[in-house]
Subunit: 362 residues, 4 copies
């Protein structure tokens, strides 16, 4: 079961609702004796916060990360690490009018279909808010990766917003800090003006935008992953499709691979100083579910978020048709914020799989 | 762990290597008292077999399904169902020359990087051959779905091979049997001639082709899935990315969703006889990770298979560069065969999630 | 992995250290739409508290149960239920002298052997204090059992303290409330004077006492459990041996069964109004790992707790021999407090297995 | 779920019924590159076979172990190891008369209560026969322990049969091979004549006997196990209570510990060449759920087996009372055979926990 848990070795169990007293998670599988840097945890959690820029939601949360177990002094104990983040600025009254209405393309109806009951305030359990402590968990995973597998690095950025699509090349050298400082976290500066216009217009029209994120793992170790059901790409895909509004996952040459013939697509091996290397990297760093040491990269696409201010047809819990327009505090485009979530989930999966390898060579 | 297991309630544990004595799987979570129809199991397993048509591999396996536990008479006992399929036509000598060579874009190198040892014959554990008993498991899942949730139906077909891309509409009414009877299992007849040419040419050139498959689940129950990490799309994505050569997964409006604004993308709710309905189905039948009762559909893209007869640069296990051309018995395009695998994994995930719902309403 | 989790369907993940800010747990698998009664949760948690009587520890904790997710109004949402209990009266200074000493028969040394680091204050993660939120989880399980399987009842009591051993008969009709009101929670009143003397003497001598607890499940459903590794008795044994200081588990006729011949030990079946009944109940309500509907009963024995005021030989973290006497606030006998823990873990296992049965008949 | 699986890192999934074509198991988590010695696997499996001596069942099975995956040449591949053992000498006709009768203290009734259907032949899934491949799995675990943690040794022997109870001291130096060669696998020779008489009489009377087994793990590493729910003793208890007819588990000082005061029971630490040592070993080598490096020992008690030739009252599937006497081929006492099972399960748990430790120090 464990439907609220990501990972089986470094396993993160999520809890909390959008307008409950707090959101949080418990991490089992944190090895002992590692220093935990709370500052960078807070910094990364801040990267996914609302209200950072004019395109994001106006809910204003401090998102102060509190670690209440598993760390003594600044060292991990090997026991579960529990992370709490208070819900301070929830304005539940905003949702009174929505108590008996199913917002289109939201989880309202399906939550009722599954559970027969729901906390309608702020989307309850289905709110993106529950990812705040998960970003903290991802940053702990990152710190553990750095401690034990030093040079591996995960970077993610916005590749497109709406129809504004950046140059897909992954061959830039921006650090994640530099990416976070970019407008909309877009690496291709040339599309920023177009995005600005799109966002401004959408805001004006009470509309919303989707987009895409590319993530790359460099200096990767070879031999990580699993050959059958838990292929590295399968685990990454599961994690990515777990992020709200994500509609697709592709790695390496992605969907385009289907157009190429084997002789064009195959990555020729060449000798390398350490292990081997490939001339091209259509494999996206993964062959047969296992990393080959080349950069791993994947792209995910997000639909536009569903809370729009424009009037929409829908039904209420009594089954009657009606029109609604959603007024609360909502993002025009959540994709830039999602960069921190994509990195976090990638770090969690990656550390899980790196640790799993200790069971193989033993 | 359980890296060789798919599902946690209806859980299928795979074993076997391509050239070992047999491949098989053990299914835990088969409820008791259900009739098992061996005939349709064998039929479905035959659908993924090699040597069916001129575009597939020439390895000729009977793939006779043997169930050795969990079924007494023709009824399930509630105990684990073990399925065995003999490897009869393995020609291991074909692989003698490859013992010390890493075939480009195959799992040879990564298997060594992970395990330090491998059964090089026929790709060992990474062979698509291990999916034969998994197709049997999927057919058992289908039979159980029919028994308990009668009208749900899973159909899959080839949407493209190489550059020949069919009309993406999912609004056809072909049964799976009719689909299986189609050339290349393509629904859009208009692209068959183009595919035939592509396949003939690729064969002539010693080359291979990729493609894509679309899968649709109709008459779906609402309320199936989970809101956080085990979203229904996340589970499907993990399963699909577990299939050899799959490079992408998208559901509903897919990657294209990122281009649309919320007002265009949202699926307006309308009252329906049972529950509700949506005017459009960009959600692909899943909202917030949970089914809403509309058809679920997704598309996956496959790279061309890696065994090509053309000469390629590579390295051997000693790290020396060399050229190889792969001569054994290999498919030009595995995508039509993969239709049976896509269906099987979908049935497994679907039944797992349908059963999980019994824990919610109890 | 999930080493801090009990149960796989109703799964309780524990976190917290004795002297951290709080202890807690997250329960996944709580079905939606059930009323949760906080009052009886608090009452049951109070039953395992310190400082209730003169024989228990003087640490004085309010143990106020806070549920921070998964419950809206007084109803469960089907989402994870997180429970927090603050550590308010931790006197960490008491442990300064013990920072570099391994207390005999405590987990100090083994924690270092496993983790290489520990929170020495109050036993850290190995403290019985971490069971406080688990008792709350157990009471939630009990409420869910009552809601769905109404008449099943779990009662536990002290059967012996030190050499004072009560009449082993399980045929009394005391309710759990009545048991909790009994001195030392002993059902057999005749041994209370002897226990009082033993406790007074042990306290005087700076010594400690062990004992035993018997637990009975009445009005049990038949058909609950599993035939192989997860036999009902195996799950109960795992849970009971997870309680600090427990040294043994026996169910039904227990160890004594080994002395009897089959003709004496077998429980003859007789027809009953509903299902069947057995004349004797040496099986302890479980046959082949599955409940038969008769009362389930088991007994567990506890060693005396390890913190004694008397001087003891030990070694410090540098490996030097030394003498210590442990002065803090400690119980003379923890067995009466453990009654609440035994019930809680039994409720958790029982509800887990009852729920699992929904996957069988579906 | 995984109700048919023991272990989560070295995980053994069992399948098969007593009178189906075969029994078997699949082991996930076997590291690559280890030599597997089939000879000692077969030898150990033979140790649990029927028909070895005059006190055991007359069913005569070759129990030939076949490994069909995960091993190439004589080396493990890191992929799942599947083990098959044919059911050759099943005489199903013996069970025709029992098809509609519930044998007292057997799993017949509870299997029906759980599943509503059963394979009545030979006890179906509840037969001790399913342990044959599990003994093979245990021997593989032992070989892996020897390869990686060389000096650890698990020995088990019969401590009592019926009322004939051996001297409980664990301080003998007999090897397992020597133990297996002993009559009834009893270490204390002085009780052999008494046992012989008991067995002869029971056979004459159509009756059966129980007994007990003690198991000891020597040269154990410190730091193995887990502090909360997966305490080493909890895992061992779960495994032992999973063995048919086991009624109790106690480790170290066991149930007797409850009688002692802390000052008598505590194991004083003393400096040792490597780590530390304890003067006494009431802890049974485990403190706070984690091994301390001292010998681990535990004792389990078995009820007499339930198939007796004497007439017994019971009911049939229609609910009518009747008398039966069970005539097939059955053991008088299964305890000597169970020694191999106890060792196997102990090796599985032990290797699982030893491997788990790689995730801690990483």
């Amino acid at each position: 079961m464990y439907n609220n848990t990501l990972g089986d070795i470094f396993s993160v169990t999520s809890f909390g609702e959008s307008h409950g007293p707090m959101v949080g998670c418990v991490i089992d599988g944190v090895p002992p004796g590692h220093k935990i840097d709370l500052t960078t945890i807070q910094t990364e959690v801040d990267m996914r916060k609302t209200a950072q820029t004019n395109f994001a939601s106006e809910r204003s949360e401090a998102d102060l990360v509190q670690i209440v177990s598993g760390v003594y002094g600044d060292q991990t104990l090997g026991t579960p690490v529990a992370i709490l983040i208070a819900n301070a600025d929830a304005k539940s009254a905003d949702y009174d009018a929505l108590q008996n209405v199913y917002r289109p393309s939201h989880a309202d109806y399906t939550t009722m279909a599954k559970y027969g009951v729901r906390d309608h305030r702020g989307g309850g359990r289905s709110s993106i808010r529950i990812t705040a402590p998960l970003v903290a968990a991802g940053e702990i995973a990152r710190q553990l990766i750095v401690a034990s597998y030093s040079s591996i690095e995960v970077r993610a950025w916005v590749n497109s917003i709406g129809a504004a699509v950046g140059n897909a090349s992954i061959a830039h050298n921006l650090s994640q800090t530099e990416i976070y400082a970019k407008p909309f976290r877009v690496v291709d500066d040339t599309i920023v003006p177009q995005i600005t216009t799109l966002v401004d217009n959408a805001k004006l029209e009470g509309d919303t935008l989707g987009g895409s994120i590319t993530c790359i793992i460099t200096n990767m170790k070879a031999g990580i992953g699993s050959p059958i059901f838990h292929k590295l790409q399968a685990r990454l895909a599961q994690a990515m499709l777990s992020i709200n509004t994500v509609k697709s996952f592709e790695f390496g040459s992605g969907a385009q691979a289907s157009m190429l013939q084997g002789s064009m697509h195959n990555d020729a091996f060449v000798p390398a100083a350490e292990g081997i290397s490939t001339v091209t990297n259509n494999s996206g760093g993964i062959q047969g579910g296992i990393s080959n040491g080349m950069p791993i990269y994947f792209t995910i696409h997000f639909k536009p978020i569903s809370s729009i201010k424009q009037a929409q047809s829908t039904v209420n819990t009594a089954g009657d048709a009606l029109d609604i327009s959603i007024t609360g505090r909502h993002d025009v485009c959540a994709v830039p914020r999602a960069v921190a979530i994509v990195r976090a989930y990638t770090h969690i999966i990656l550390y899980n799989e790196l640790q799993a390898q200790h069971l193989v060579h033993s």
